[in-house]
Each structure stands twice: as structure tokens, then as C-alpha cells.
């Protein structure tokens, strides 16, 4: 994004908007909209899975549609909860070091949990967990 009316000094001082807030705002809404059907589905899925044995759950996740929707639910939920906790951290933690550590922990926990969940579901769906 160009800023034709800004002087080089104002640019060097970093004054004004960063210029990418709208994209971030829209991305948050896109994730939220996607989560509406995914969460309704995952409640239905949890009701089906709760009375099942481990073998039953493995067969259930072996169906491609179930595995796909489960992975999508994890990925979009974790994306959404990363963005949400990020805002909470930015609101309440003012000390730069504490805030940076919390933001980093939030990112690492989300990426790790998402990676573990997706690998686990793929392992089951591809028949390697029997």
C-alpha cells in the first residue's frame, strides 16, 4: 500500500496506520464464519464418538469425510483461538518482555497442538493406528 501524501520523516517515525489492519480483521471473520458449520458438525461428531470403543472411533475416523472435517475443525479452531488469545495478551500484558514471551508461547502452543492433532488424525485415517 502506498502513502503518496506522507512525508519521508513521518514514514521514518512510523506514524499512522500499519496499512494491514483490514486484512487481519477480514481474516478473523472468515475463520469465524467457517467455524459456525464446523462446530455444529463437531458436536454431532462428539455425540457419535462418545459411546464408541477405540476400535469404533478408529473405523469412524477412517471415513475420509470424517477425517477431513475433523482436521478442518482443528485447523480453523486453532487459528481462531490463536488470534483470540493474542488480542487478550495484547490487551492485558503491557511489559514488553512478558508480552513477547506470552505471544510466542501462544503461537508455539497452537502450532504444536495443531500439528499433533493433524498427524494423529492422518495416522488413524490412513490405517496406521490399528
Amino acid at each position: 500500500m502506498s502513502h503518496p501524501y506522507r512525508t519521508p520523516l513521518s514514514r521514518a517515525r512510523g506514524n499512522g496506520a500499519a496499512g494491514h489492519g483490514a486484512g487481519h480483521w477480514i481474516a478473523e471473520r472468515v475463520g469465524s464464519i467457517a467455524l459456525v458449520p464446523l462446530i455444529l458438525w463437531v458436536v454431532y461428531a462428539a455425540l457419535q464418538l462418545a459411546p464408541m470403543s477405540r476400535d469404533g472411533a478408529i473405523v469412524w475416523l477412517g471415513q475420509p469425510l470424517n477425517a477431513l472435517l475433523m482436521i478442518l475443525t482443528f485447523v480453523v479452531s486453532i487459528w481462531h483461538m490463536h488470534d483470540g488469545l493474542r488480542v487478550v495478551i495484547e490487551d492485558y500484558l503491557a511489559t514488553i518482555l512478558v508480552k513477547s514471551a506470552a505471544l510466542l508461547a501462544n503461537l508455539f502452543i497452537c502450532v504444536l497442538a495443531g500439528g499433533l492433532a493433524v498427524i494423529s488424525i492422518l495416522k488413524i485415517a490412513l490405517g496406521a493406528a490399528l
Partner: protein
């Protein structure tokens, strides 16, 4: 932000909770954050479900035993309430983002609606779970 220079007049701060009358839209806003943070933990528990399911029968039965215990079920019920509340309030936010329902009367009415939805939907899901023999 730079500090106000010393000796200048005290600048007003944002409203303090002590002088702020509680109202229902404030409650729904706070609940949205609280349930969101709670659901962060719940999503980590769901990831642990997938990991233990893939890990093997021992890990899975241990984990399902934890979730099926009385404290486990109580936590899962709170997760269900939080999930439906956060879902309902999230849709409410999307409606607001579209520029609708922002007047005080509508906002108060939708506050009551999303709180009721969270509770009723969670109880309904647990009744269905009981009927399906999932409890």
C-alpha cells in the same frame, strides 16, 4: 505512549469498574472472552484426544477414563455451555459487523438470547447424549 509531563493536569483515564454500572451487554462481552479462553483449553484437550487415540489402547482408555470421571464430565458440560455461548455470541458479532442490531434495545435483547441459547443448547445436547448412552 508517552507519559504526560509532570506538573500538568491529570488526564482522565478510561472508565473504572467501581463507577461503571453493570449492564447485560458488558456481561456478554466479558463472557465472550472468558468462554474463548476456556475453549482454548478445551481445544487442547480435544487435540490430546486425537493424540491418545492414535497412540494406542492404553493411552486412549486412560484418557477416556479421565474425561468420563465426574470432574471430567463436569468440565465437559462447562465446555459445552461455553461452546454454544461463544458460537451464539460469535454469530451476534457477525451480525453487528454487518451493521445490524447495534441499537441498545436490540443489543440488550440479543444478550439475553445468546445466554439462553448457550444454556439451553448445552442441556439439550447432554440430554441427547444421555439418550444415546454416551454418558
Amino acid at each position: 505512549m508517552t507519559q504526560a509531563s509532570s506538573g500538568g493536569r491529570e488526564r482522565p483515564l478510561s472508565p473504572h469498574l467501581q463507577v461503571w454500572r453493570w449492564h447485560v451487554t458488558m456481561l456478554t462481552s466479558i463472557l465472550n472472552r472468558v468462554t474463548g479462553v476456556g475453549l482454548y483449553g478445551a481445544t487442547l484437550l480435544a487435540a490430546a484426544w486425537a493424540v491418545t487415540l492414535a497412540a494406542g489402547p492404553q493411552a486412549y482408555s486412560l484418557y477416556m477414563g479421565l474425561l468420563g470421571s465426574i470432574p471430567g464430565k463436569a468440565a465437559l458440560f462447562l465446555v459445552t455451555v461455553s461452546l454454544f455461548y461463544h458460537l451464539g455470541n460469535g454469530v451476534r458479532h457477525l451480525v453487528w459487523d454487518a451493521g445490524r442490531g447495534l441499537d441498545i434495545k436490540s443489543a440488550n435483547a440479543s444478550s439475553a438470547a445468546v445466554i439462553a441459547f448457550g444454556l439451553v443448547a448445552a442441556v439439550a445436547v447432554w440430554i441427547v447424549a444421555g439418550l444415546m448412552g454416551a454418558l
